[in-house]
Subunit: 424 residues, 4 copies
């Protein structure tokens, strides 16, 4: 299923007058509006293959209809999103859920949709059918060398798949850890995990990056062997220049100051990328920007400031990916909302008057610093994001068009009511 170009154009024409009025209003106060629009156009967020189906919890999963049944259909779904918002020009695959049988064909299909392959994801937190060793007690941390070997080889295999598809990075998320005091020797678990990562690192092609993702808890509930940014940074530093820390917004203890972590990792040259989502209690995997959009803005504020200070390219020098998955929304609608929230936060961060902020900071003018940040945040930047989308050939209101074009209904017709995509 695709939304034809002429349908998007029709949608845009209907809304153009209204859009222009709003865009002109907000643009009038943005000094460098062309640059801002261009940055917004360039900024692409990768869509994870597993977010295309309804997620679940340990208590149950309530699948919707028309979920993609194959890697080809997943690429189609991301292509469809991308055609609507021109902001999701990459897909992030998960092995073994998305093993491409014919890499060349898959690559061609993706290219037809304007998509590239973002970071590859390995899976050593589940046992697959016919898998020789179990990950019940961990993978790279495991006391049994055979299990570790299996996990290492799986990761190297994932890299190989990625090379064939033109990806240039691998995200290693380990669920390794323990559920009870005494279960693990923390020191040895760290050491074994480091050695496993080193073997995987050694298999990286020259231009590849490895992202070491951390998580505070779940599915292990006493300790996690890559549990916070400090641990991830230790691994990444010991591994070498191609290893970086990946920040998933939902993987922290309560009340953590994530924006500070981001700033410090950037300062160390070790921030690799992001998994965007939102949460209230834990790794709730909710729609980006649905719970605390100000925090998302503050994170982007650090990103813009920190990347500019290091002359980094916003669009390409870090990995941007959504990682969300839950029960109650149409997954494609959820992704449209998530991408929109990310671009709004990015646009707001681009509007921050950095010179004035620096002056306020240099004079300890705390009230003024807050005014400057909130001036950017309170501005309704949605017309800027829409304009960037319009210029790139996307829809002014992707979600509205998705609904009026009856995309989900068509997908259900094509694929059936009872499909269940791979994922959590």
């Amino acid at each position: 299923m695709q939304v034809e170009k002429y349908i998007i154009e029709g949608h845009n024409n209907d809304l153009l007058t209204q859009h222009t009025r709003k865009f002109d209003f907000v643009a009038a106060d943005v000094p460098n509006v062309k640059t801002v629009i261009q940055k917004l156009r360039d900024f692409q967020v990768a869509i994870p293959s597993w977010a295309l189906g309804t997620g679940g919890t340990r208590f149950g999963r309530f699948s919707g209809g028309g979920e993609p049944r194959s890697i080809e259909e997943k690429i189609e779904d991301v292509g469809l999103l991308h055609s609507l918002n021109q902001s999701g020009g990459a897909i992030s695959l998960h092995i073994p859920w998305d093993v491409p049988e014919n890499a060349q064909a898959i690559k061609t299909l993706a290219a037809q949709h304007g998509l590239r392959f973002d970071a590859m994801n390995s899976n050593t937190f589940q046992d697959q059918k016919d898998q020789q060793h179990s990950y019940k007690f961990g993978s790279l941390q495991h006391v049994d060398k055979a299990v570790r070997k299996q996990a290492i080889e799986h990761n190297i295999d994932v890299i190989k798949h990625g090379v064939e598809l033109g990806s240039d990075s691998i995200t290693v998320w380990l669920s390794d850890g323990s559920c009870f005091p005494g279960q693990l020797n923390f020191r040895k678990a760290f050491q074994r995990t480091l050695e496993g990562l080193q073997e995987i690192y050694a298999a990286l092609p020259a231009n590849w990056k490895m992202f070491v993702e951390y998580k505070a808890f779940e599915p292990n509930f006493y300790s996690m062997t890559v549990g916070d940014w400090g641990q991830s940074l230790l691994y990444a530093t010991k591994l070498g220049p191609k290893a970086y820390t990946l920040v998933d917004l939902g993987h922290h203890l309560p009340n953590a100051n994530i924006e500070q972590i981001v700033a410090l990792l950037l300062n160390e040259g070790k921030l690799g990328g992001f998994h965007f989502n939102d949460s209230k209690y834990g790794d709730d995997d909710l729609t980006v920007g649905s719970i605390n959009p100000y925090q998302l803005f503050l994170i982007f504020n650090e990103l813009v400031e920190g990347m500019d200070a290091r002359s980094m390219n916003h669009a390409s020098d870090l990995g941007w990916m959504i990682d969300a998955s839950h029960n109650v929304k149409d997954p494609l609608e959820d992704l449209l909302q998530s991408v929109e929230a990310i671009k709004i936060a990015y646009a707001q961060a681009l509007l921050v008057d950095t010179k004035a902020l620096q002056q306020a900071q240099d004079s300890n003018d705390v009230a003024r610093a807050q005014e400057i940040l909130q001036q950017a945040y309170r501005t309704d930047v949605r017309p800027l994001v829409a304009e960037a989308r319009l210029q790139a050939g996307g829809a002014l209101q992707p979600l509205a068009l998705y609904r009026s074009a009856k995309v989900r209904e068509q997908l259900i017709k094509d694929r059936g009511q009872k499909t269940v995509a791979t994922g959590l």
Copy 2:
């Protein structure tokens, strides 16, 4: 599979000298040791049918072998536990996981194992095959009357099953809530839920209790419609004298003072019972006493004090149940450890010098109050618990005997390596 009486006796004989030395040592300092032992004997903890199989998380489930395949085998497992520790003389069933096809036969089987049927559990958090309406958006809170009706009828059906089995209570845990701001009208959701509970309440036999369980989050991650003890108490009060609040230790926000909640609910005459487990981050469902055993003791200290103040019978006036479920231990070993931890905490609470404590409180002698509590807590009461077990015909060291008798190996032989019990 059963552990024969003579095997238990052999085990006890081997350990008796050692046990007697330890028991005599600790008993020498316990003024009312006979009463304590009797109370420990009387105190029975119900075993939930779903804790007999390996639990899982949304990331995966790693089943062990020999898990029970039917309600009969679940009863056998609880019977086996009970024969070892003489402390798990009840089973708590979950409908529809444990629908008894022949209630009379099941009742007889349970009686043979010395078991009674504790609180029945309903399930409106999952969709069952061939279920007409989905609980994707809640059950009793649902905007659609038909869904609510289905949920109400299911609960009434559960009560009927319970009546047939001789149970006298139902635990209603609702996963109802919302994942996103705006999804629910909190007020109306509360009202609809209350009305549903009222219909179920109306179907309770005269001697029955209804336990309204609360939970702070999961599987809904923005709001829960029975989210804390305050809400549960509101429902229970509006429902009437047969409705009570049920406290699950893992269902709180970080840092909650659970023992104070317990004391206040007791004071209101509205504490109904417990789901025991332990946790570090959320509803981790870990073995009781594995993370914070002092908190468990403090809870029992409030229970003993508060129940005595109301002349309640420790063993029978509240519902005691384990609710744990996780990945990495043999479920039966886990349950043996959990029951042991509960009885240790109960024994410690029975040793508290309540008169001295009251004096310390009445003179604001905080250091002394702490000394009194810790004097009981630091005492190694395991020989008291073992003695109670010995007198009741159980094993001095249930877990050791479980292992030496190779129970799990036998269960695997009987039932197979690849069985998967119903549950989370």
Copy 3:
């Protein structure tokens, strides 16, 4: 010190063209804009006397200059704020920090500034010089009847002061609780506290309300005797129709869903009022809207919906007060920012398309419900708030005018650099 009317008018004239452009833009999409403006005009937030000086932490206090040295100067400061934003037309006094020696004169002074006296606050968490009994171990919960009596009499005394000033409510915040397990008998502490509150309640004039404030922790770090909304509601219900629960945004456990609490208390007819502030970790007492403005909006969304459902008057049927206090901003600037944040959130809530939201809820259209809420929240409502201020005679940009008029410099000149206001 006052900001003269002509200065405000000059300020407004300079900004009028710019304001009109922005107001017209946003007003064009607000159907009932006149009503919204009127509601914003009517909505007044009480300023607590202790927020007029720099706050502190247990680690230190860094006073600024020109802090008010007397109740008269505190009234002047609030009057000054009110002249700028026409939104702070009430002051909330704290006894014994603000004992009025001549109530009539104080009342007249307040009236000159257009101020009324909001809820009175008692203090039983500190020992005052020459106080007979110490509150070291609590006040209303205390084991010693003499201490309880002293605390009760103090509260009755506060009511008397309030009557003289024309206030019609008292906020009772008790720091009572315990720092260590065993220190308190929770049950008896609850009972004694209830009895104390009953005596105070009995002294309330017919038209008065009592607000029972709860707090999760601090300054007691094991238990609080009015620790959460459930406990507060228990007290308020047992007390009678003039007793209500007061919600302070910073007084919750991590991750609490405050908006749901608000909705449920409203539904029970027991919500009394608010203490506004913001926080990241605990009772941080930061500027309203500085950490999580979306949560503030969600709270106002529940307030508007729930009060409308009960036909309550937004401006007068609940008590609205700021309770913030910290180290690093000019207190008056902080209060201007806080009031602005409150009115922005209120304005956003007034813009919510309630009919559409109800439809979305009734059809479980979660994505749409989020769109509706965020449509209101993303709208830049600052011109609406400014217009309401303009119409009422306030300044278009209060903080900017406060700075350009050099208010703080003048206060320092008048009062000195080394003044220290009473407060925390």
Copy 4:
């Protein structure tokens, strides 16, 4: 005031029979009991000078009587504690609260009490009278070089005092951070702080250590510039081999796994020492072991395992200090309880069957691993700790003797009822 040797002996003689019975009972099951006792004797915990007076919160302070009025009286108090428990043979001073006017005399006084000087503590979180620059906006992070210089010089001054007294380490705890988003540039604050620490580091004598203490929040409530172990480790690593991370148990986000942090820091060779206390919500500074004694045991379990793996001397290769301070207990009683709790946890950790634990870990026998830990933890080790104390010349029951000897009454007689020690 001192407790004479003969009084201690009398006390011990009265209790000896009872003690011997208990000691013999527990010792019978400890294979290497002599070694354990010796390790317990060697293990000394430093007492901070500020814990000798009643602490307070921002809401108030309720001083007790007889608090030390000078550094000499503080040394006397620690000496008194040490004479009772033979476990607090060091004092940790805080500058400027404890500036020694005559270092030699102070050193002699301490020696008379058998005390050495543990880590020195600097203070850049408060403004002292006549201090030129304010720390309102931080110290080493400050944007103004003059403030940073003042803070650096103060720390170097503290080192000088320490050298005179024979101390060999400095603990640098910075309250630096921010209360509001935008207030700080995180990157630059980190960089400035690092440079300041480098200057202080350069002033360290050859045999000195610098402990970099971290804290998650308070007194800054948005960000802390040394906010977690990851940040502290970054500083310590960049500083050099004499810099280490110091862990204060109360300085973490909710639910943090502190024992894992300890294990990893030890593994990196960067753990410097401890500030012991206990807490439920934040930096509550409660008596050690009063809230979660099992966690304390788990931390000691990691310490013993990790130090043994690196052949470190338990008693001398890390810094052990209490850092607690609160309202409701006699400070000396509080310290006796805290030291006792530390030694109990240490004793329990020494009893862990490390070989069996390693076997359990190597075979993923999680239930067994828990049994092994809890076997040590459930053992009533108080007689072992008492025996170590007895052998060293201390009292069998220090707190009981403190009370029966009426120490506090005597201190009040000597020093007065209304003394207030320096501190928080």
